[in-house]
């Protein structure tokens, strides 16, 4: 395959999947050697960088085609996630510690956590499943969540911190 054609195929994959893909994944999808993918990908990234448009290919934990940060306002406007700060915080705790038991979440976030969970389930951002022993619920974030959000910075350290703190008050 020509380099130009491969570049174009990679672009199509990134546009269609709308999620971060590793070189290996791209190679699998396109049935092309990872080395070739990497080469073409780098060229594609440079193409985008030199284009001065609204889109860019970010390479944080895989390659993803996204709108540049400067147009975040447009993204927010078109795909608003209307969550009250408290609910957002509950969502953050879930994302950091998933899968998390509902009872533990309540320990961390207080009794309002139940309401928050309900709202988040309704919005399709988390899913809630009966525990193996059937006594509590396990809560996880969904595919939709990962389309809307990513965890930033040293999330692991923060998760550890939560462990110690045992509680995330609303303000």
């Amino acid at each position: 395959m020509e380099q130009r054609e491969l570049k174009s195929k990679i672009e199509a994959v990134l546009f269609t999947t709308a999620k971060a893909l590793k070189v290996k994944e791209l190679a699998e999808i396109l049935g092309v050697d990872a080395d070739l993918i990497e080469e073409a990908l780098l060229e594609l990234i440079m193409d985008y960088a030199s284009r001065d448009g609204a889109l860019e290919i970010d390479d944080e934990d895989g390659y993803i085609l996204q709108v540049k940060l400067e147009h975040m306002d447009i993204v927010e406007k078109l795909c608003p996630v209307e969550l009250k700060p408290a609910v957002l915080k509950t969502l953050t705790v879930i994302a950091l510690k998933e899968p998390i038991r509902q009872s533990y979440l309540k320990d961390l976030r207080g009794s309002n956590a139940y309401e928050h969970v309900q709202e988040l389930v309704q919005k399709g951002l988390i899913s809630k499943n009966k525990d193996k022993n059937g006594r509590s619920f396990n809560i996880k974030t969904t595919q939709k969540f990962s389309e809307y959000f990513k965890l930033k910075g040293d999330a692991k350290a923060l998760a550890k911190f939560l462990e110690i703190e045992k509680g995330v008050s609303d303000d």
Binding site: M72, D154, A155, E165
Partner: protein, 268 residues
């Protein structure tokens, strides 16, 4: 995790930080304890440290604490500074391995003598990433990605299949042409000219016709290879047979692909 920056709320020293009524224990609060107590009383959000705000609050606190304890003030500002540094590091996404307070910073507060007895502070940015900053909105989100497809999509899809189909039939034709070229490749140019020559074909047809009439008096069918015994090469015999089958009732039969070709008499 470093103990030095422990926000732990287990600290029993619950000072009223806004109030003017500061008990004697408060006098001994240092930077960390002030932070903790401010968090406890809800003055600051431990999950969302606003450095500017916190610094302001420290200064207010400082003002309210009538005893102008310079050591306390220095430490309070130190922690504000550290917070600021940590936060900017987080924002910059720079790994900060160590942060050791420089003594010079305290010179103006005249506490350097005091400070040396303190433990060395080693902070890691991990301690103070704010929970409100952990979740970041993605800008890769695409609405309608999993929408029910529209008919236009369907038409596009069909067009795509059509295109693939065209490409395939084109490719097949190309393959066939290539195969033809290959089978002729063994022939000399003279052979090819002869092959194409009408008279040559006519001659072959005539010879074959006479011979086949003789053969079919005895046999029901004859192998094409056998006909080459008459002094014709296989291709010439084949071409002659094609002409013959078009104008008479001789037929070419093959039981399996690539197997022997037989000439038979068609049903009358």
């Amino acid at each position: 995790m470093t103990e030095a920056f422990d926000y732990s709320l287990t600290n029993t020293n619950t000072a009223e930080v806004n109030g003017a009524s500061v008990n004697s224990a408060t006098q001994e609060l240092d930077g960390i304890e002030i932070l903790v107590s401010m968090a406890k009383t809800g003055k600051v959000n431990p999950w969302n440290i606003d450095i500017v705000d916190i610094t302001d609050k420290y200064l207010t606190q400082l003002f309210q604490m009538k005893s102008q304890n310079l050591r306390l003030t220095g430490r309070t500002l130190l922690f504000a500074a550290i917070l600021l540094k940590l936060k900017s590091n987080i924002l910059e996404n720079i790994e900060m391995v160590e942060f050791e307070p420089n003594e010079e910073q305290f010179d103006e507060f005249d506490i350097s003598d005091d400070f040396n007895t303190e433990e060395n502070y080693t902070y890691n940015q991990n301690n103070v990433i704010s929970i409100d900053e952990v979740l970041q909105r993605r800008t890769s989100i695409r609405l309608n990605r999993n929408r029910v497809v529209t008919l236009k999509d369907l038409i596009r899809q069909l067009e795509f299949y059509e295109m693939i189909d065209k490409k395939q039939s084109l490719k097949n034709a190309h393959e066939r042409a290539k195969r033809r070229v290959r089978s002729y490749a063994n022939l000399s140019s003279e052979d090819i000219i002869n092959l194409a020559h009408d008279e040559y074909i006519e001659d072959g047809v005539q010879r074959l016709k006479e011979n086949l009439e003789q053969i079919f008096k005895r046999e029901n069918r004859v192998e094409l290879t056998e006909l080459t015994l008459l002094g014709m090469d296989k291709i010439s015999a084949y071409i002659a047979l094609l002409f013959l089958s078009a104008e008479s009732d001789y037929e070419l039969v093959q039981d399996e692909f690539y197997a022997e070709l037989y000439v038979t008499r068609g049903l009358q």
